[in-house]
C-alpha cells in the first residue's frame, strides 16, 4: 500500500468519524427537542407540579430557576468583577503570590459541583442554619460560578490595549478612573458575553443545588410580592427546587405517572434556555466585533 492509498483510507475514516459524531450530537439534540416540545404548553409552563397524578406543570420550578439565576448573578458578578480587575489592572503580574492565587482559582473551577454543593450544605444549611433556601443555593452557585466569571472578566480586560491605559494616565486620570471610564466600557460587550455564557451553566446546574436550595417546591402565591412572606415568590429563605433538580428528582424517585413526559418537556425547556443564552452571547460578541472594527 503506498502513501496515497493510506491517505485516502485515513481520509475516509476521518469522514466516517466526523459523520458519526455529527449524527450522535444531532440525534441527541433532536431527541430532546422531539420528545419534549410536544409536551410544552402554556399550562405546562405555568402550572405547579403534581406529586402523584398526571398533568402537573413546571411553573414554580421555572420561576425558581430564573430567580436563583438572578440572585446568583447579583452576588457573584460584583465579586468576579472586582477580582478580575485586581488581577489584571492592579496585580504585579510577575509576583509569585498572584501565580498561587491564579492556581487556586483554577482549582476552584475544577472542583466537582457536587463537592461545592456539599460544602454549601455544610456551611450554610447546617452550620449557619439557613436551611434549604434560595439564599443557600445562590451562594453555593456563586462559589461554582466565581472562578469562571473571574477568568472571563480578566480575559476581557486583557484584550483592551495598553494604549488606552496610557492615554488615561496621560490625561491625568487615576488608575481607578481609567478603569471605570475607559477600560470597563470598552470591555463591556466581552464581559457580557462571559456573563451570559456562565448564566447558561448556572441555569442548568443541579448537583450543587440538591442539598442547598433543596428538592421541594412549596406552593407560591404570585399575588404576594412582599419578600418577607413565606409564600411570596421573592422570599429568599424558602426552599426552591429548580428545573434541573426537578428533572433529576422525578427520574430518580418520582412516582407521578407522567414522569417521562414531564422530564422530557422540562429537558426541552432547559435546552431551549441554553440555546437562548448562547444566542445572546453571540449577539454580544457581534456588538463587540462591530465596536472593535467600527463597521456597521
Amino acid at each position: 500500500m503506498n502513501a496515497k492509498q493510506v491517505d485516502k483510507i485515513a481520509t475516509g475514516i476521518l469522514y466516517t468519524i466526523a459523520g458519526f459524531v455529527i449524527l450522535v450530537l444531532l440525534a441527541l439534540l433532536g431527541y430532546i427537542l422531539v420528545q419534549g416540545v410536544p409536551n410544552l404548553s402554556w399550562h405546562f409552563l405555568t402550572a405547579p407540579a403534581e406529586a402523584f397524578s398526571a398533568g402537573g406543570g413546571i411553573g414554580i420550578q421555572l420561576f425558581n430557576s430564573f430567580y436563583l439565576l438572578i440572585l446568583t448573578m447579583v452576588i457573584s458578578f460584583p465579586i468576579a468583577l472586582g477580582a478580575g480587575i485586581y488581577l489584571n489592572e492592579y496585580a504585579n503580574q510577575k509576583s509569585k503570590v498572584i501565580e498561587v492565587i491564579r492556581t487556586m482559582i483554577e482549582i476552584l473551577s475544577s472542583l466537582p459541583s457536587v463537592v461545592v454543593g456539599l460544602f454549601g450544605f455544610l456551611l450554610f444549611v447546617v452550620q449557619l442554619k439557613l436551611g434549604f433556601s434560595l439564599l443557600s443555593g445562590a451562594i453555593a452557585l456563586t462559589f461554582f460560578n466565581l472562578p469562571l466569571l473571574t477568568r472571563s472578566v480578566e480575559e476581557s480586560l486583557r484584550t483592551i490595549p495598553n494604549l488606552q491605559r496610557e492615554a488615561g494616565s496621560a490625561l491625568g486620570l487615576s488608575r481607578f478612573e481609567t478603569i471605570g471610564h475607559v477600560i470597563l466600557p470598552a470591555a463591556l460587550p466581552s464581559i457580557m458575553t462571559g456573563v451570559v455564557l456562565s448564566a447558561g451553566r448556572v441555569f442548568g446546574e443541579a448537583a450543587a443545588l440538591i442539598y442547598t436550595a433543596g428538592q421541594s417546591a412549596p406552593a407560591l402565591n404570585f399575588a404576594d410580592w412582599n419578600p418577607f412572606n413565606a409564600t411570596s415568590p421573592l422570599n429568599v429563605m424558602r426552599p426552591a427546587e429548580t428545573l434541573a433538580v426537578h428533572i433529576w428528582k422525578i427520574n430518580s424517585e418520582g412516582i407521578m405517572p407522567d414522569a417521562a413526559a414531564v422530564s422530557a418537556g422540562a429537558s426541552a425547556v432547559l435546552v431551549i434556555a441554553v440555546l437562548l443564552f448562547n444566542f445572546c452571547a453571540r449577539y454580544f460578541s457581534k456588538v463587540l466585533y462591530r465596536q472593535l472594527t467600527s463597521s456597521k
Binding site: 502513501a3 481520509t11 450530537l25 439534540l29 482549582i107 462559589f143 478603569i179 433529576w248
Partner: protein, 305 residues
C-alpha cells in the same frame, strides 16, 4: 504658603479613590481565596473524622469491598469499604475517556484539516451548544435511551458501568473535541506547509506532524474531560444503578463516589460514622480533582519546553 503646601502634599481625591478601588477589588479576590481554603478545610476536617474520630483504618477504607456504614463486621469494626465506589468511578472515567478520545480527536482533525468550512458551519456551533447542555439532560437521555438499549443488547437491568460510561462519553465528547480543535488550530501554519512541501500526503502531515505537535494540548483536553467525568454526579447517578457493590462486569449495577454521595448525604445524621464516611468520599473526590489539575499542569509545562 502653608495652604499651598498643604494642597500640594495632601493625598489628592483621585488617589483616595484609587486606593478605595484597589482595596475593594483586592477584597473580592481575597474572598474567592477564602472560599477555596474553606472548602478544603471543611471537607478535609469532615472527611478525616472517619479515620481520626471513628478510628477506621485508611487501608481498610480504601480497599474494603463492603459498604454498609450502619453495620459492623465480626470484629466490631464498621463496614466502610469504599473500594467499589472508587473502582466504579475510575472505571466509568477511563472507559468514557477511552471511547471519547478517538472520536474527539478524529472530529477535531476533520474540522481543522480536512473540511474547515463544514467544520466551522455545522460542527463548531453544535459542539459549542452541547458543551452547555445541563448534565441532568444527559442523564435523562441516558435513562430513556441508553439504559433500555443496554437492556435490549446485553440483558440484565441495563443499569451499570457501561451505561454510565456511554452517557459520560457523549457528555465529555463536545468538551474534548472543542479543546482539541483549539490546540490543532494553534499549530503554526508553517508546519503544515513544510510537511506538504516535503511531499507528504495530507494524512502523513496530520499523523507525523500536526498530531505530534499538538500532543500536549490533546492530552490536556483528555485529562480535562476525565476530570469532568470523574466529578459528574447526577447524570451518572441516574444510570449507573447505585448498588455499592464491586462491579464484576460492565453490565452489573454499581456505584461511583458521586452517586453514593448524592444519594446518601441527605439520609444520614451529621457527625455519625455513616455521614463521616460519606464526607471521606467527598474528600477523595476533592483530592482527585487536585490530581487532575496537577496532571494538566505537568503536561502544560512539558509542552511548553
Amino acid at each position: 504658603m502653608d495652604e499651598i503646601q498643604e494642597a500640594l502634599t495632601k493625598t489628592s481625591k483621585a488617589t483616595k479613590k484609587d486606593r478605595f478601588g484597589r482595596s475593594v477589588s483586592l477584597l473580592a479576590l481575597i474572598l474567592i481565596l477564602a472560599v477555596v481554603i474553606s472548602i478544603f478545610w471543611f471537607v478535609a476536617s469532615k472527611g478525616l473524622a472517619t479515620f481520626f474520630k471513628n478510628h477506621v483504618s485508611l487501608w481498610s477504607f480504601l480497599t474494603g469491598t463492603k459498604w454498609a456504614p450502619g453495620q459492623v463486621d465480626a470484629h466490631g469494626k464498621p463496614l466502610v469499604g469504599a473500594a467499589p465506589m472508587i473502582v466504579g468511578s475510575f472505571l466509568v472515567t477511563f472507559l468514557s475517556a477511552l471511547i471519547a478520545t478517538p472520536f474527539a480527536v478524529g472530529t477535531a482533525v476533520f474540522m481543522t484539516e480536512i473540511s474547515p468550512k463544514r467544520g466551522a458551519k455545522i460542527l463548531q456551533p453544535v459542539t459549542e451548544l452541547l458543551v452547555g447542555i445541563p448534565s441532568v439532560v444527559y442523564g435523562f437521555v441516558g435513562l430513556t435511551v441508553v439504559v433500555p438499549a443496554m437492556r435490549h443488547l446485553f440483558g440484565g437491568s441495563g443499569f451499570g458501568v457501561l451505561a454510565g460510561s456511554m452517557v459520560l462519553f457523549v457528555m465529555i465528547l463536545p468538551t474534548v473535541t472543542s479543546m482539541t480543535v483549539d490546540t490543532l488550530r494553534a499549530v503554526p501554519k508553517r508546519y503544515r506547509e513544510a510537511a506538504l512541501a516535503l511531499g507528504a500526503t495530507r494524512w502523513q502531515m496530520i499523523y507525523k506532524v500536526i498530531l505530534r505537535a499538538a500532543t500536549p494540548g490533546i492530552l490536556t483536553a483528555i485529562v480535562f474531560g476525565m476530570a469532568r467525568a470523574f466529578g459528574e454526579a447526577l447524570a451518572v447517578q441516574m444510570v449507573v444503578g447505585n448498588a455499592a457493590l464491586m462491579p464484576h462486569n460492565l453490565m452489573s449495577p454499581s456505584a461511583t463516589l458521586t452517586s453514593i454521595l448524592t444519594q446518601g448525604i441527605g439520609n444520614t445524621v451529621m457527625g455519625s460514622l455513616e455521614n463521616n464516611a460519606l464526607w471521606s468520599l467527598a474528600l477523595i473526590l476533592l483530592l482527585m480533582s487536585l490530581v487532575f489539575n496537577l496532571v494538566i499542569r505537568a503536561i502544560g509545562k512539558k509542552g511548553a519546553m
